[in-house]
Structure formats: C-alpha cells, structure tokens
Amino acid sequence: MITIKHEGCIFCVGCSSVCPVSAIEAVGTRMEHYPEKCIDCGLCVKVCPANVITLHKGVKSAAQLETRGTGHAPKEAGE
C-alpha cells in the first residue's frame, strides 16, 4: 500500500488522475486513499510533484505497516 504525508500535499489531484484503479480521491480538503483497491503500482508516487507519497511493497493495511515499522512484522510468504 501507499502512504500519503498530508503535510506537504498540495492537493493537486495528480495522484488520483493517474491511479488506474481509483484508489485515491480528493475528498474535502485532503487526498483519501482506499487501500482495499490499491494495486501497489506506484504511479502516484512517480507523478506527485510534492514528493509526499511512499510505496510500501507487500504491505496491505495500516495496521500491518505499523508492526512492520517497529520491526516486529511477521515474515510473509513469498518475501
């Protein structure tokens, strides 16, 4: 999945306009990410003019990202 650092986002909708699966959308005053739709293609990361999107390959949820961040993530099959 990807994470968006909202501080630094200039709300230009570049990420959502290149996302092939509509997994990012401008809602209200911030970019919302729908991890269940995300296919980890990384196009949004490349196009972002503010450089605020990070791709975490193989991570499926925010909770999993957190455990991985602390170094306690269980090893997954195929890794």
Partner: protein, 404 residues
Amino acid sequence: MNYDHDVIVIGGGPAGSTFSRYCAGAGMDVLIVDKRKEIGVPVRCGEGLGAREVVSQGLELPKKCISAEIVGAKVVAPNGKEIVWKDKQTTGWVLERKFFDKWLCELAVDKGAKVHTYTRATELIREDGKIAGVKLSHGGRDSYEVRAPLVVSAEGMESFMARAAGFKTVHSLYDVDTCYQYEMKPYDHQNLIELYFGNALAPRGYVWIFPKSDRKANVGIGIGGNLMNAKKNGGIPGADPKVLLDKFISTHPQLKDSSTLIDFGGVISVGAPLDEFVKDNFMVIGTAAKQVDPIHGGGIALAMETSVMAADTVIEAFRKKDFSRAGLMPYEKKWKDTLGKKMAKRLLLRKVMEKFSDDDLDYIFNAITERDLNSVMDGNFAGPVAKVVAGRPQLLKVLGALVS
C-alpha cells in the same frame, strides 16, 4: 420515468459553468454539483487565458477576475537567447482563477442553473441498464440520489464518474506534465508570458513566469510525468519539479530575493483527447475529456469553446427528447472536425519538441523569428521547418514528422 432535473453537471469549473449557462439559458433545468467547498478553490493552474474565446462569447471579465493583462510572450533558449513575440495569439490575461471560476459559475446561476457545493458524486445510478442520475454526498454526511436523463462530466483531471461510465480517462505518466508553482513578489514584469526552455532546467517541459498584479508573478515549472523521480526506464534520477524550480529561482537575478506568497501544484494533461466523448445519457467535456492544449497545457479556453458545442447539441437533444449516444454525437463530431484537428497538430509538435537537445533548441531559437513562431502555433509548420533543416539537415529526421 420521473427526473429531478434535465441535466446534472459534475464540476463547476470553466467547462461545467459555461455549459450550464447555455443550457439553463435555453430553458433547461440544470443542476451543477462541485465537490469543493468553494468554487474556484484551490487554484491549481498558471491562470493564463487568451482573450479570443471570452470575446467570442460576448463576455466582459470583471476587474477582480483579471490580475494582469498579457501583451505578448518571451521564449528563452537554453543559451539565454530570447525571442519576444507579440500578436493576437499572445494577448490575454493572467486571471485570478478563484474569482474567475466563481464569476463564470454565477453567470450560470443567473440563467437559472442550480449549484450545490461540497457535494461529491459517488456513484452513477443505472436504471434498466441506462444511466439515469447520480448518487451524491454533501460534506460526507447526507447521501441522496438525483435523477436526470443526462449526466455531464466536467470533472477535470480526476474524472471519476466518467471512469464509472466507461471512459478511459486515467492519465498515463507520459501524457501528463507534473507541475509546481509559486506566486512570488516582487517581480517587475513587462506583461509578457515568459517561457524558459532547457533539458537541464525542465526536462520535457519549461519554466514559466506569468505576470500578475502589484509586482507579483506566478513562477512555475512543468516536467514530463514519466521522467519524475524515475530511476529507470529512461527517467532522470532526482527530476523533481520543486527542486528544479527552486534551482531556477536561486539563479534568477530578480527572483532569487523575492518572497513566495502561495505554493501550488498540479498535473496537466498534455496527451491526446479521449477517443469518444459521448455515450447514452452521458457526456464528457473539458479537461475530463483531456481537451487540453498539449503545448502549453492550457484548458480554460478550450473548455469554454467546447462547452458551446456541447450545449448546442444538448439543447437540440432536449427538444427532441433524445439523449442517446446518437443524439449527443453532433458535439463529438464537431469537436473532432474543428478543435480536434488543431490539437492533433499541437500534440505532434509536442512529441517532436521533446526530442530536441539543448543544442538543437539553441540552434532553432537562433534560426527562427517571431513570425515563424506564429505560423507554428497556427499549425503551419512547413516554412519554419524548411528554414531550420536548411541549416541543420540532421534535424530532418525529427522535424520530418511535422511536414509529412
């Protein structure tokens, strides 16, 4: 079938508002929904607009919408050589977009269109397999359904409902420019649009300075989306619009000491328009249909011109009660026969231009005149191409595409 409106327009930008103004003026019941809290905000654009389309629609811009008048353009080669170019094509305004968009939208309201802000279209409603309206959400709180025999996507770059209707509106990295821009002050401009070219300065793009009121200017950069932060596939490592723009500013004699007043950014479509603009009970207009000039990325004038064509067709379809694909087709056909042909030439020019090295650019800027630039922008490439190729025959391979 019971409908709430004759047409639902998604997006209250220049395309949606202009289209709605004409349709409401012809007696149609029009609903515009815009997901932003305020029409025209945030601004994501250089704010330049040529005078022609505004004049031809009989509009007079209120003072608050105009930040500065443009009297011409200055293009600067990688080696610093400048060509100043003044003519009808380069006259216009740098707008205050937030006021301009709101004013255009209010004109539609004056004609009877209804507008709902902070209202996001979340889903298309289909009945008996046909599009019959949209599900809306106001401020993320109230969800409701609104029905109409025609839904128009004027959604801009995101164009989610157009995607839902089956249009291929997703942008490829190659066909977008990714941009960063500051509003800066002070900058003593000469009411010229300034464009700086160079592969190191702005790979497959340029740096622009657009004059604004009170010694201000929009200073921005656009670079090829496929080159961004790319470590492979021919990309340029570290190509980052903000980094490159900051670098340009730090070496610019005047701007290096200026302040930034606004940070904004955007992604501009610089590719081909959609293959089709209409389906049964659905239509796409403006940037949502990728109707954007591939050379300068400008979309406002095209959106306004397109909207007139679309509205003419829709008003006729309304009279005949025929919102089928066939009934909406005159708009698509007319666009392709007129603006489409013009934009195809611009796209070709963009694709040729991105092959030039800095040395080629320096040579070309030296060889051509203001008049040549005019014919190029009019789509008459033969004269200028002959001139360049005469002095640098090796460019024929690249430039040949423009005259074959």
